[in-house]
């Protein structure tokens, strides 16, 4: 360990400009408070406060204009040693870049969204097929899903559900798109964390878990759907979603994470104080 001697870095006699202490702020604050206090006590208090305020404003002004008052503080030389008792830094075994963001390679985030969209589209077919086979109406599954958002829908009949409702369609579409994209995103994000066979895991086991979870909670979330849902068909469409989403995600190649670039650059934001050349400087 070595310690630098800093005999000449700040010799005695060197001074630093700092703003001079001043009483005007406290006088002004007191004045302002008195002005307000006068409303609840006596006008004279307010007037006194105003006097304080004006005096301090003038005094303050004269202190900063034309030149700010300052005092020169002598610099006392002192050595500051920056050291740690911890001399060794553990490294992650997997790579040289032991402090990298993990993992080094990943599926692009977009792949998750793409997978979600593809899966969402794939899921529609078994659902519609179910509607046609069981109730001869493609609107049946749509309305079942949308029923969660249709406000005034209590105890609908089967005919009701099989008919076309614009409100149901809109709500169902929103729910379907939102959840498909979100689940796809989650899927893409978690793929690298899963062990091998991402399609099997993501396509079959995850949908089964998901179905199980829904099975136990659907009665609360959407009772209409819960009453009428055909769980077999539901599982089929879930698996369709999972398989297609998994396939799409897995087909996308892995990319290196943008960890060598600063966040702001990755986001494409320019901010003051940011060096645009920084990315290239790092090796």
């Amino acid at each position: 360990m070595e310690t630098h001697e800093q005999s000449n870095s700040s010799p005695h006699g060197e001074t630093i400009h700092l703003p001079a202490p001043t009483a005007w702020p406290i006088v002004m604050a007191f004045g302002v408070t008195l002005i307000f206090a006068g409303f609840v006590t006596n006008m004279i208090v307010s007037i006194l406060g105003a006097v304080f305020f004006v005096t301090s404003a003038v005094g303050w002004f004269r202190q900063v204009l034309p030149h700010e008052a300052h005092e020169d503080l002598p610099v006392e030389a002192h050595d500051i040693t920056i050291a740690s008792t911890r001399t060794h830094v553990t490294r992650i075994e997997i790579s040289e870049e032991h402090r990298a963001h993990l993992p080094v390679e990943t599926y692009p985030i977009l792949s998750g969204i793409k997978g979600g969209i593809a899966g969402g589209i794939a899921m529609i077919f078994p659902a519609l097929l179910y509607g046609i086979l069981s109730h001869h109406s493609i609107w049946y599954p749509v309305n079942l899903l949308g029923g969660a958002g249709v406000a005034n829908w209590s105890n609908p009949t089967t005919q009701d559900i099989a008919a076309f409702h614009i409100q149901g369609l809109i709500v169902a579409t929103i729910i379907h798109i939102a959840t498909s994209v979100l689940v796809g995103l989650l899927y893409g994000a978690m793929l690298p964390m899963l062990p091998r066979h991402p399609i099997v895991l993501g396509g079959i086991i995850a949908p089964l878990l998901w179905t199980g979870l829904l099975h136990s909670t659907l009665g609360i979330i959407n009772p209409v759907l819960d009453d009428r849902i055909a769980w077999g068909w539901f599982v089929v469409s879930q698996v369709a979603f999972g398989m297609v989403a998994g396939f799409v995600v897995a087909r996308q190649g892995k990319i290196r994470t943008g960890q060598s670039m600063p966040f702001v650059l990755r986001m494409g934001i320019e901010a003051s104080g940011l060096h645009s050349g920084e990315g290239e400087d790092r090796h």
């Binding site: 630093i16 406290i26 604050a29 609840v40 006392e76 500051i80 040693t81 920056i82 050291a83 830094v89």
Partner: protein
């Protein structure tokens, strides 16, 4: 090479101990009153905050004693109403709003390698405005009925719902004291916020880019920006209230077509983001303490910064979840349910990132870290009860019940106060040059944790059993008695803990272990200055190349900037 010398000459030569002659005392006092040094102002803010923490604590204890048993007559209903109003107002405005600027003032210039804040005199003005505003509020105990009438403090609740605040229902001046003093402290807050933002954006040392700012500074900038947007609506609403009360205006005069609901909206447009104004600086402290005691860089720095900004943004659109019972349309209710639940997402990110920071580290449970760990668990619970309250139908039951009281004390005490304590234990050595006693610190922590949980865990239950807030007493047959008794005992334990803390503060100032400039082996710039730092902070302007400049110096073979 494991250490190097940072070219920063340090502490002032120890001035010889002055004799406490009258002149010396006056001079000492004068130096504090006229100071524009950010460090001294930071200390003043903190002392002010701690003082009112004790005052508000005493008020809380009186409230708890009154509620220990049904139909007690320890204090009168009038006094009780004043106490809970003053307790809330004090804790939010005089403790919460000042601890923020205490830490921010002291630390931001040191962390970004600046000599002082951007506007040192404005800084002093801001503090003194807050100071006198607080005094004015407490003067109402003597002068609240008008100078010549009998005195009393405000008794309309810290939310001061109209039309209870109108002249017809609250004669006298107590409500005016409430509004006027908060307008004054509000000016102080605005000044201080402007200063924080300008300092962090314009006074950074060389190399301190925005993405290298310590997260503490980031969060304080977000806080201050949020404070700028949220404090002023309160000021505006209070001006309206005063117009009603003094000039015969009709903003909240329901007899003349005015609306009580509008006051509620205006108040909570301020009031909800205010919670985030208070809690983000607490996060800021956790963001510094947790990495240092886990010996790891913060996990996901950009996500942490982004989540803070996201919280601030979302928080501006959630205010009406305080008003689910006020009779909004079902669509309105649903909207505020959604926006409120959305806050949970960035907050969740933060909690996960803190856990990930600790994951794989070598965690040392010194007192600051103990408090931060407590904070993590309690904040998690507070967030979950927050989700329960965001569920509007359930909120129709829980609103204004003791469940809500428990929830927000979980946030304010379990979250924020724990972080304040963590921050004080962490930076006290920097401020005074001496360590706080670890033994007393551990006592403080354990007593406080136990007292906290006895009080606030159980406090959820009376709410579920139908006990509303702001009642000075309750019926014996309601079945709330035992619970309230235990809750009050927990409160007393917390009071003891805070006393231990106060003793620790004083004792360690004189007898504590010498700290040295870097007792925690930390990484941000303030630890490169002497303890306490000289008035000019750094003799030469530092230059940084990464988020953890001291790490780079301690591990020159393995610096951060290679990877950031």
């Amino acid at each position: 090479m494991a250490d190097s010398t940072y070219p920063m000459p340090g502490s002032l030569a120890e001035a010889p101990r002055q004799r406490w002659s009258q002149a010396a005392i006056l001079e000492w006092l004068h130096s504090w009153v006229t100071t524009v040094d950010h460090k001294k102002l930071g200390i003043l803010y903190m002392l002010y905050s701690i003082f009112f923490l004790l005052v508000g604590g005493v008020e809380a204890i009186l409230i708890r004693i009154q509620l220990m048993q049904p139909n007690l007559h320890f204090i009168s209903p009038q006094v009780f109403n004043r106490l809970f109003t003053m307790h809330g107002t004090t804790m939010v405005f005089l403790v919460g709003m000042t601890y923020i600027f205490g830490f921010a003032n002291y630390l931001i210039p040191l962390m970004i390698g600046a000599r002082d804040m951007a506007f040192p005199r404005l800084n002093a003005l801001s503090f003194w405005l807050t100071f006198f505003g607080g005094l004015l509020l407490y003067y109402s105990f003597i002068g609240g009925g008008g100078l010549y009438g009998q005195g009393n403090a405000p008794d309309v609740g810290w939310w001061a719902y109209a039309p209870l605040t109108s002249r017809a229902f609250t004669p006298g001046h107590s409500t005016d004291y409430w509004a006027l003093s908060l307008i004054v402290t509000g000016f102080g807050t605005i000044g201080a916020s402007v200063n924080v933002v300008a300092t962090a954006l314009c006074m950074r040392c060389k190399g301190m880019t925005l993405m290298r700012l310590p997260l503490f500074v980031w969060l304080n900038v977000v806080t201050s920006a949020l404070a700028l947007i949220t404090i002023t609506p309160l000021t505006a609403a209070q001006i309206m209230l005063l117009i009603d009360r003094y000039l015969g205006g009709h903003f909240f005069d329901t007899q003349a077509g005015g609306s009580a609901v509008v006051w509620a909206h205006f108040f909570w447009i301020f009031g909800h983001p205010e919670v985030y104004v208070l809690v983000l600086p607490a996060f800021a402290i956790a963001n510094e303490v947790i990495p240092v005691f886990s010996r790891k860089a913060i996990f996901g720095y950009p996500a942490m910064a982004a989540a803070s900004v996201a919280i601030a943004f979302v928080s501006l659109g959630v205010w009406a979840h305080h008003m689910f019972t006020i009779g909004m349309t079902s669509v309105g209710n649903a909207f505020f349910v959604l926006s409120t639940m959305l806050v949970g997402i960035p907050t969740g990110i933060k909690i996960f990132n803190w856990i990930a920071t600790m994951w794989g580290g070598k965690i040392r449970f010194a007192t600051p870290m103990l408090f931060c760990t407590g904070f993590l668990v309690q904040f998690l619970l507070a967030g979950l009860t927050g989700i329960m309250l965001s569920v509007a139908p359930w909120d129709w039951q829980l609103h204004n019940s003791y469940f809500v009281i428990a929830h927000f004390h979980y946030v304010l005490v379990g979250g924020i106060v724990f972080c304040i304590f963590a921050g004080i234990y962490y930076w006290y050595p920097k401020v005074t040059g001496r360590m706080l006693s670890e033994t007393l610190g551990k006592w403080h922590f354990w007593l406080f944790v136990i007292g906290f949980h006895i009080t606030f865990d159980l406090m959820h239950i009376p709410g579920l059993l139908g006990m509303p807030r702001s009642i000075y007493t309750y019926e014996a047959n309601r079945g709330w008695g035992t619970l309230n008794m235990i809750i009050s005992i927990g409160g007393l334990i917390q009071a003891v803990a805070v006393l231990v803390f106060a003793v620790n503060l004083v004792w360690s100032y004189f007898k504590g272990k010498e700290a040295g400039n870097d007792p925690w082996d930390a990484w941000t710039l303030e630890w490169a200055a002497a303890s306490p730092p000289p008035a000019y902070n750094f003799a030469t302007d530092p230059v940084v190349t990464s988020r953890r400049p001291l790490w780079d110096l301690k591990h020159p073979e393995d610096p951060d900037w290679k990877y950031e």
